[in-house]
Subunit: 141 residues, 4 copies
């Protein structure tokens, strides 16, 4: 089952055209990845970054914005892992308002040592959650 979570379009997200300013979507997408790491992968970002001295920077991200979102809209975000590499992870994040798809994003994260910036192999306990999820992602697709 993909991971889903809700976000409300707030005043702080909207531009003078009255719609979400697209850089704010990336803050929302990052917060969805953050929730998924905490709730599904079992590593919250505080433990990941502060305690463990590791990080998950985004190496690339491709996003289509299908329709604008407006102040007060409730967006359902859905995260599906697509593929796991030795040190990387490919994720799809989508957002819908009711039946309308608002965005589709595919990103690649890399697990790194913060001090050196070098990629690290995913620890097995984390990888296990990606793998299960990827399999489910395929079944769901």
């Amino acid at each position: 089952m993909p991971f889903t979570t809700q976000r409300k379009v707030r005043f702080q997200h909207c531009d003078p055209a009255g719609i979400v300013f697209y850089p704010r979507y990336f803050e929302m997408i990052n917060s969805v990845v953050e929730d998924w790491f905490e709730e599904v992968v079992g590593h919250d970002f505080n433990r990941l970054h502060v305690t463990s001295g590791t990080g998950v920077p985004t190496a690339s991200i491709e996003t289509q914005f299908h329709a604008p979102s407006r102040l007060g809209d409730w967006l359902e975000f859905r995260l599906t892992p697509l593929a796991t590499g030795r040190t990387s992870l490919k994720l799809q994040v989508t957002a819908c308002c009711g039946d309308q798809r608002r965005l589709t994003s595919v990103s690649t994260l890399v697990f790194v040592d913060l001090a050196s910036g070098s990629p690290l192999p995913w620890p097995d306990p984390m990888r296990r959650h990606f793998a299960m999820d990827c399999q489910q992602g395929l079944h769901d697709a």
Copy 2:
């Protein structure tokens, strides 16, 4: 000649890992597009949005982050128009710090009527600047 402009990596752009939080790059990219519209295309965003009731929402954007940027880095942004459609415009934006490429982004903007959200054909005075620039972009490539 591509359009270039400088941005400094500030405290507000950096995350607990001490590097630029990637959604902040999209604020910078948007500000570069804003400067290009004002200085090259000859339509500032105030005139475009407020006076004319039009907008240039981003329909899609693909970005690779090649290397992290740190507090105090000076980034040189370079904007090159790649292709003009009847109502759309494809742009490449890159950022370098010295000799090191930090990001490469390709986005598609659409010219729209803000009230209806419908795409509008680019006015000729704007299109002329895109065309010249696209040609130059090809010569430079």
Copy 3:
């Protein structure tokens, strides 16, 4: 009873020092005021701004930051109306993490016509909610 709501300290709120970058607190405070207008006053920000062509800009705000907040902290925000003027409203917003007070903020909002920027008297249905809340605020204090 003051209005309370929770906010989680996310990656996007934190600076290279690993603590909340104070401008992000103001985004949180604004979102708390937004929720209070929707849930208590009965006017959501979309209706207020887009449908009615009015706004509630902040005229002044004083904030003390008592202790830093860190990635992953859950903050309980509490909003108490302090005083109502003909066109203005004085609010206190506090945030605590467990027993520890993190910030205390007092702001003055003004109800304005967006087109002219001129202050407007609060409509009675809105004012009634402020008054009730102010009274409760006094009883609670």
Copy 4:
């Protein structure tokens, strides 16, 4: 002489009412303090935070917003140190657009050790710059 620097009101700063969203002013104010530390005090934020393991969190800030700022406005920010304590510093920051004052802000920063969060006495080379500036501030007032 107070320290002055310019900021342009950009699309990213503006809200659906078409004026600067006040939390974005605090990002601008912080960037002005950042420039002043680098250009006047002689300690850039990278050296201050990353190399030295110190920080200058804001302990309190009071701000009046006198008039709204709009997309495309150029704001002149002016920073004047008001008073220096053993571990703290009181600053005034104002912003004007032409002859019109837009905001007045008074904040107190504290010099801290990032690891422990404890206040530190300002190093003499930094303090000397505050003192000179405060004196000038008094003469200017």
